[in-house]
Symmetry: C2
Subunit: 473 residues, 2 copies
C-alpha cells in the first residue's frame, strides 16, 4: 500500500494525498449522525488526467475508490467505510467553468464546481442555470449529476439529468470518455450520459459536464396559499399547469404540522396564513415570466381567482417584492431545521404518481397512527414532481432517540410497503448510497436488478468504484 | 427451424406467423431504394407476454430478431437482412392506450400505437402529446422510443427520450422488465429507461411506455421570416428564446435553394416571401401560448420588431389563421418531396453546436464546391436544436444516379469529417441502423465504443437482438 501512496503522491503532489487523523471533513457524513469512516487516503487530483492516473493506480492495486464532491450526500453515498482500505477521491480541485456558450445556451464546467458558483457564472453571462437545492452553497455539479439531484424547479426544468447535454467521465479502467458535445440531438449509439448520471460513482467518475442554460426570466413571483384538502392541492396543481403553462417553476406542499414546527422553533420567521387560517395544507407557488412583472402578476391573479372559485384554496397571498418572496422560500426550506430542533426523526424521500398522492397519504397516515399512538407525521415536498418528504416524528414528549431505535425499522417497512403499493419510489431525489441498499434489493424488480448487476459487472469487473453503495453484487 | 415456426405458431396463432412471398411490407425499407430482405418469418404477437414467449423461443434456437414498428426507419434499422435467418417481430398488434392520467399528466400506451393516434387520444383528454414528425401517420411510439425520434417541437419539449417517464421492455432472455411507473423523480439504481431508448432494438424490445403529457396550449402562431445571413438566423433564435421563453416551440431554417425546389416542383404551394425577397435564408417560427391568441400575437410582434431593429430579418409575415399556418408548415415539410422530384440526393442528418453552425456551413459548402463544380447544397432543418438536414444534390443537368454512384462516398467523407471537426454528430435524429454502422465506428471514440460493446455483450450475450444494426461487435 505504501507503493500505491507513493504513486498517488507522485501523480497529484504529496500535498494532495492526505492520510492519518483529522480527515473528518471527508470521512464523515455532513449530518454527523453516523460514525466516521476511515480512508486509506484522501486524494485530491487537479485535473481529468490526474483523476485518470489515480484510477489506474487504484485499479492496478485493487484499491476501492469513493468519489466525493461537496460531501453533502443524504444517503451515505460519498464517505468511506471503516475498513481503511478505500481512498476518497475528491473532485474539489476540478472546479473550473471551462466555457459558456450563449447562442448554444450551454455551459461546460468541471465536476467540483460548487452549484452556487455555476448559477452565478450563468447569471453573469445573462443566463439562467436553473438547478437549485438547499445545499447549493456547498454541493458540487459532479455530485448533483452522480446522484441526479432534483430540487425546487424540477416541475419546469427537470432533474439534473434533464439539464445535462454531455459528460466527461473517467472509466473504472482509468480511460477518459470525452462526451462533452453540447448537442440537443445526438443518436449515435447507447446513451452513456444517462447511464453515468445517477449511478452514484459506481460506474466511473464524472469529471466535467456540459449543461443547458436558459434565458434569464424577466420576472419571478411567489405566492402562498392555504388549501382545504390534499385533493384540492392536486387540483390546484392542475389549474396552475393550465394557467401558467411553462411559467410554473415551483409548487411546494406543506402540511400544517410541518409549519407549526417552523413557527415554534424559528419564531423570527413569519409563516404566512398559519395563524389566520385553520387549513391543514399550504402551498407555495412560483411563477416565472419571460415578459414582465405586471404580466406575471396578472397571470397569478387569474390563477388564484380560478382556484378560489373552484374551492381549491381558502386564501392566498402573492409576495409583494423579492424580499417577501425569499421569506416564503425561507419558511419552506426551514422545515428540516425546525424538525431537527424538535428532535431526531425518520426521513423518507419518496415519489408517488401525483394522482394517487391523496390516497397514499390517507392510507399511510392511518397505518402509522394505528401502529404508534400519537405519532407525528411531518409531510412536505415538491408536489409538482410528486415528491414528498414524508417524515415521521416521535409522539410529543417521547424521547426521540429511543423512538428511533425502537421504531425506525417498523416505520420504514410501513411507509415503503405503501409506496410500493401505490406505484411509487422509495428514493425520489436523494439516491441510494450505502443507506438504502437493502431497499433497492427489496423494491426493485429482480429483472431490473439483474440488468443493473450485468451492467455493473461489465463496466467495473473489479468492483472498485464506490463498491457496496447503491447496488450490492 | 420448422420446430421454431411451430412454437411461434402455437404462441401467437398461426395467422400471425407469416412466411413465404409477399412480405414486402415488412421486408422492404419504406424508401424502397434498397433491395428487399428475406425474413424467416414475420411474427405478430398480440401482447407483452406473447412478445416475451417469442423472444424465449428465438433465444433457445439462436434465431436473430428484428423488431419493427411502423417500418418508417430512415436508416435501415427495422428490416431483415437477406439471409432468411432473421425473424421480424412486428409490434403492430400491441396498439392499446392503456391509461391516461390527467392529474399526473401522463399516458401509458403500447409500443405499436401509431404516433398520430397517441396525439389524438391525448387531445381528446384535453391534453397535448407534443411528439410530432413527418411520418406520424404511420410510425409507432415504440419505434419513436427505440430510435429516440426528434421532430418539429424538440426546442420546447425535447426528443422522444425527454418525453418518456417509464418503459416496459422484454429483455433478450425473454423476461419482462416492468418500468412503467409514471414518476418525475426516481433515483433507485441505474436509469435503464434511457439505456433502452435509442438502442434501436439491440438491447431488448420496448413493449409499452408511460409518456409525459402537457396542458393543451390556448393558441399557436406561426411566422415566416426572410433572413439576411445564417449568422442572423442564429441571432434570431437567441432573440426568440429571450422574447418567447418556453413559448418557442419551433424554429426551422430553410436555405433559398431548398425553397426554390419546392416552388419549382410543387407550384400549388405558395412559398412565402420567396419571390419578394432575395434573402438566402428563411425561417419558420412557431409560438405556443398558454394565455390567448391575442397575447401570442403581441409577443410575436414584439419579437419581430426587435428582430427587424437588430437586422436579423429582412421581412416577416405572421400566419393570419390556422390554414395559413398549416400552409407554412406544408412548405417546410415538402422540401424532401421536392428534392426527390429533382432527383436522388445524398442526405445527411447532422447536429452541430448552434454557435458553430454558420462557420460549419461556410466551411463545408466551400469544400464541397471546390471538390465538385456546380454541386447543389439543399440545407434545411431544425435550427432550434442545431439539427441540419444538409443534403447534397447533383449539379443541374447531371444524372443523379451516376452522381450518387461516383460521389456519395467522397461527399459523405467531406461532410462527416467537417461534422467531427466542428464537434457535431453524424446522426442527430434518424439513428444508425444498418446504414451508418461504419460511421459509428469511425466517429465515436474508442472509449465510447468499448463501453457500448461491453453493455451489449452483457445484456445480449448471444447477439440476437437486431444484430449488426447500430453497433457491430
Amino acid at each position: 500500500m505504501s507503493d500505491l501512496l507513493d504513486v498517488l503522491r507522485h501523480t497529484v503532489g504529496s500535498h494532495h494525498v492526505l492520510t492519518g487523523e483529522g480527515l473528518g471533513a471527508w470521512e464523515q457524513d455532513w449530518r454527523q449522525r453516523r460514525p466516521q469512516g476511515k480512508a486509506l487516503a484522501v486524494v485530491r487530483p487537479a485535473n481529468t488526467a490526474e483523476v485518470a492516473a489515480v484510477v489506474r493506480a487504484c485499479a492496478a492495486t485493487g484499491t476501492p475508490i469513493v468519489p466525493q464532491g461537496g460531501n453533502t450526500s443524504l444517503s451515505l453515498g460519498s464517505t468511506p467505510d471503516a475498513s481503511g482500505r478505500e481512498i476518497v477521491l475528491s473532485l474539489a480541485r476540478l472546479h473550473a467553468i471551462r466555457a459558456i456558450d450563449p447562442h448554444n445556451l450551454s455551459m461546460t464546467l468541471e465536476a467540483g464546481c460548487i452549484l452556487h458558483h455555476a448559477q452565478e457564472a450563468a447569471k453573469q453571462a445573462g443566463l439562467l442555470f436553473p438547478l437549485s437545492l438547499a445545499s447549493e452553497g456547498s454541493c458540487t455539479v459532479g455530485g448533483n449529476l452522480g446522484t441526479n439531484a432534483g430540487g425546487t424547479q424540477v416541475v419546469r426544468y427537470g432533474n439534473a439529468r434533464e439539464l445535462c447535454l454531455g459528460l466527461e467521465v473517467v472509466t473504472p479502467q482509468g480511460e477518459v470518455w470525452d462526451g462533452l458535445r453540447g448537442l440537443r440531438k445526438d443518436n449515435t449509439g447507447y446513451d452513456l450520459r444517462h447511464l453515468f448520471i445517477g449511478s452514484e460513482g459506481t460506474l466511473g467518475i464524472i469529471t466535467a459536464a456540459t449543461m443547458k442554460l436558459f434565458p434569464l426570466p424577466s420576472a419571478q413571483l411567489t405566492a402562498w396559499a392555504a388549501v382545504p384538502t390534499i385533493e384540492q392541492a392536486v387540483a390546484l396543481l392542475g389549474l396552475a399547469h393550465q394557467h401558467l403553462g411553462a411559467g410554473l417553476t415551483g409548487l411546494e406542499l406543506m402540511g400544517r404540522s410541518a409549519l407549526e414546527l417552523v413557527a415554534r422553533h424559528l419564531p423570527h420567521l413569519r409563516v404566512p396564513l398559519l395563524a389566520e387560517m385553520a387549513s391543514p395544507w399550504f402551498v407555495l407557488l412560483e411563477n416565472t415570466d419571460s415578459e414582465s412583472e405586471d404580466h406575471a402578476r396578472d397571470r397569478f391573479e387569474a390563477l388564484m381567482e380560478a382556484a378560489l372559485a373552484a374551492g381549491c384554496v381558502h386564501d392566498a397571498v402573492v409576495a409583494q417584492n423579492q424580499t417577501q418572496a425569499q421569506m416564503f422560500w425561507q419558511v419552506r426550506e426551514s422545515i428540516s431545521t425546525a424538525q431537527a430542533q424538535e428532535g431526531l426523526n425518520i426521513k423518507h424521500d419518496i415519489a408517488i404518481p401525483i394522482t394517487r398522492i391523496p390516497a397514499f397519504v390517507a392510507h399511510t397516515d392511518a397505518l402509522l397512527s394505528q401502529a404508534i399512538a400519537g405519532v407525528r407525521i411531518i409531510n412536505f415536498g415538491h408536489l409538482g414532481d410528486g415528491n414528498l418528504h414524508y417524515n415521521v416524528q416521535a409522539p410529543a414528549g417521547d424521547d426521540p432517540a429511543i423512538f428511533l431505535r425502537e421504531q425506525e425499522a417498523r416505520i420504514n417497512q410501513i411507509v415503503y410497503e405503501a409506496v410500493a403499493q401505490f406505484g411509487g419510489s422509495f428514493s425520489a431525489e436523494h439516491g441510494v448510497g450505502a443507506l438504502k441498499v437493502e431497499q433497492l434489493e427489496q423494491y426493485q424488480s429482480p429483472v431490473a436488478l439483474g440488468l443493473m448487476r450485468a451492467i455493473k459487472q461489465a463496466l467495473d469487473p473489479q468492483n472498485l468504484m464506490n463498491p457496496g453503495r447503491m447496488l450490492r453484487l
